[in-house]
Amino acid sequence: MKNTIRQIFHSSKFVAGFVIFVAILLFILLYPLFQPGNPLEMIGVGTFAEPGTYVSLYDSVTAPSETLNLPDAASNRLASVLKEEDRAKMAEYLVAVGVPSEEIDVADTEALLALWEKHYDETARPAGMTKATRNYYKRLNQSLNSMGSGSELSVVEQGEGGEASTIATIGSSDYVNVRKVPNRKTLLLGTDNFGRDVLKELASAAGTSVVIGLIAGTVATLIGLLLGLLSGYLGGFVDDIIMFFTNIFTVIPSFVLLILISYSIGQDQRGAGVVALVIGLTSWTWTTRSVRSQVISLRNRDHVNLSRLSGHGLFRILMTDILPYIASYVVMAFILQVSSGILAEAQLSLLGLGPKTTEVPTLGLMMNWAMLYSAHLNGSWWAYFPVILMITLISFSLNLMNTGLDQVFNPTLRD
């Protein structure tokens, strides 16, 4: 046993898969300790806030400020406000008034603004330009002038009687130390469509999905093992009956069955546990078939005959003379069942047939929400890409572990 475990941990594939899986487990277990609270709490009101650090605007107005005269502050400010299409339009105008296009660099805000100031003339009428376009340039010029002016902003508080009183005046060179702002929030993966912290949700969802995979894998492996052992060892009529049902379940695609059962259970009854059970109950067939064939090859071995001659009963022979010989195989089958259970939950949830949405997040549900609110169309990659990555990593690590085990236990596969 000790030797076997040592051998397993000599397999680089198994170790790689094991390390990834343990890292994911640590993330699932440890992240909620550092960020406690309900993972489904809606902290944001809008949808899909971008990843990043958020500081309270309200607090920063009243926080003590320092004046810093930084030379590129104005152009940075302009650069962050000036949109891509405005820059392109400016370049278009400059070309129209005769500036050579190779002199224009839309990425260099300062140079672009210098050219603009030099060449823009409100009264000029470049050939082929409509009045509407000229008006657009007029507006653009005005807003550029006002942004560059560095005028002060007044913050006004509205009193009870409706009278306004100025509480702060903010100059363009006023700075606040981030640490002096009491309310900050770093959202590494932003928020999702309901304004929930995606990272916190992801830790919780991955945990639920792994549990679903484990329940489904255990159920499938236990049923498959029991039927496979009985069918293979007893043979004859029992074998025929068990294989009849196994073949029926094999012929009907289990995913169709899964969809039908999930649908008929109804949204209210469908907790994560029920979904896991349904997945387990529809995916035992191939474990049965492969365990059966392994048992058939063992059934007539001399050590089994000797055990029978020693008067041992069916249960004891199955448990001590057959099961230990196929244990490595069963462990590998279990790992694959866990992996396919996680994938099956994701597929079901993507179709909206997964666990009900109000209690716990799962990886499949997160994908479902991201899809329903078109995260993939509006560029909110943080709502679905980490989820896909998580599913891929879990299933990759499990399959890698399985391949590693396979190479240890089937020496013919070793390279």
Binding site: R301, D302, H303, N305, L306, S307, R308, L309, S310, G311, G313, T320, D321, P324
Partner: protein, 290 residues
């Protein structure tokens, strides 16, 4: 027909043969048949064989691979059901319809298998194998010292040292040692019939004589019937009282060892005998079919 080679290879003498024709019947069968598969894939492994094994007799069943020897042995052991025919055990029809009756039957008949390397459960220690035998013969509640004494006795009968074997696994032994451990197991169980299915074919020639010697000693010691299954007609001649020749699931010839081998009647027996390689002659391959 020269059988010198059998004598050359083994130093055990031939005068073990005794007259057993007056002993009571131990195991007998009439029309025993086993058919595998159905329809077009139907195959008759054992085809209506009759036999009578007497108490204390050493019977050899000889035949080439695939002749149905092992299937017959499994039926005799009760590990495989018969398709047709009846088997009598000590004068009464054998009844192994329930588990309790099977257990009772297996107290009387035990086996040694061909491949010592696959005969033991690799997850069980040697002690477990021997303790199992003590338990089976009703020694479950014996004190620990008594059990150890029994196991030591059994091991020393086959020239093994129990102190060296205890807490070891079977796969740590050599093939010859494992097969001797099998005999120690039989020594503890003391069955009335021992079915030895090619017990020496996977063992080198030196250990072979030792194993055979131990088997024969054991037979003399507890007076059991030995059914020896082999493909080696020379070996069969040298140890058996009676020889059954099996071809394609049928017994083509049987009788005392001298009768069958010194004056064979069936062509198959003649062929088997001529196929035995002889040390001082060129090997005659002319009888090989195809």
């Amino acid at each position: 027909m020269k059988m010198d080679n059998a004598k050359d290879q083994n130093t055990v003498t031939l005068d073990r043969r005794r007259d057993i024709s007056q002993n009571p019947l131990c195991l007998s069968g009439k029309g025993v048949t086993r058919v595998f598969g159905t329809g077009r894939r139907q195959m008759t492994a054992v085809d209506h064989v009759d036999f009578e094994f007497r108490k204390g007799e050493l019977v050899s069943i000889v035949g080439e691979s695939g002749s149905g020897k092992t299937t017959l042995s499994r039926m005799l052991l009760g590990l495989l059901s018969t398709s047709d025919g009846e088997i009598w055990f000590e004068g009464k029809p054998r009844d192994i319809s329930t588990r309790a009756k099977k257990r009772q039957y297996w107290k009387n008949i035990q086996a040694i298998f061909q491949d010592p390397f696959s005969s033991f459960n690799v997850f069980h220690k040697i002690d477990d194998v021997l303790l199992d035998c003590i338990r089976m013969t009703g020694g479950r509640d014996l004190p620990k010292e008594k059990k150890t004494e029994l196991m030591t006795q059994a091991c020393s009968f086959v020239n093994l040292k129990f102190e060296e074997l205890t807490n070891k696994y079977p796969f740590e032994l050599s093939g010859g040692q494992m097969q001797r451990l099998m005999i120690a197991r039989i020594f503890l169980l003391k069955p009335r019939i021992l079915l030895a299915d090619e017990p020496t074919s996977m063992i080198d020639a030196c250990s072979r004589a030792t194993i055979l010697d131990m088997l024969l000693n054991l037979r003399d010691e507890i007076g059991m019937t030995v059914i020896f299954i082999t493909h080696d007609i020379g070996l069969a001649y040298y140890i058996s009282d009676t020889v059954y020749i099996m071809e394609h699931g049928k017994f083509v010839e049987h009788g005392s060892a001298d009768e069958v081998i010194l004056s064979p009647k069936a062509p198959y027996t003649k062929r088997l005998i001529s196929d035995v390689p002889k040390i001082h002659e060129a090997w005659d391959l002319s009888t090989v079919e195809g």
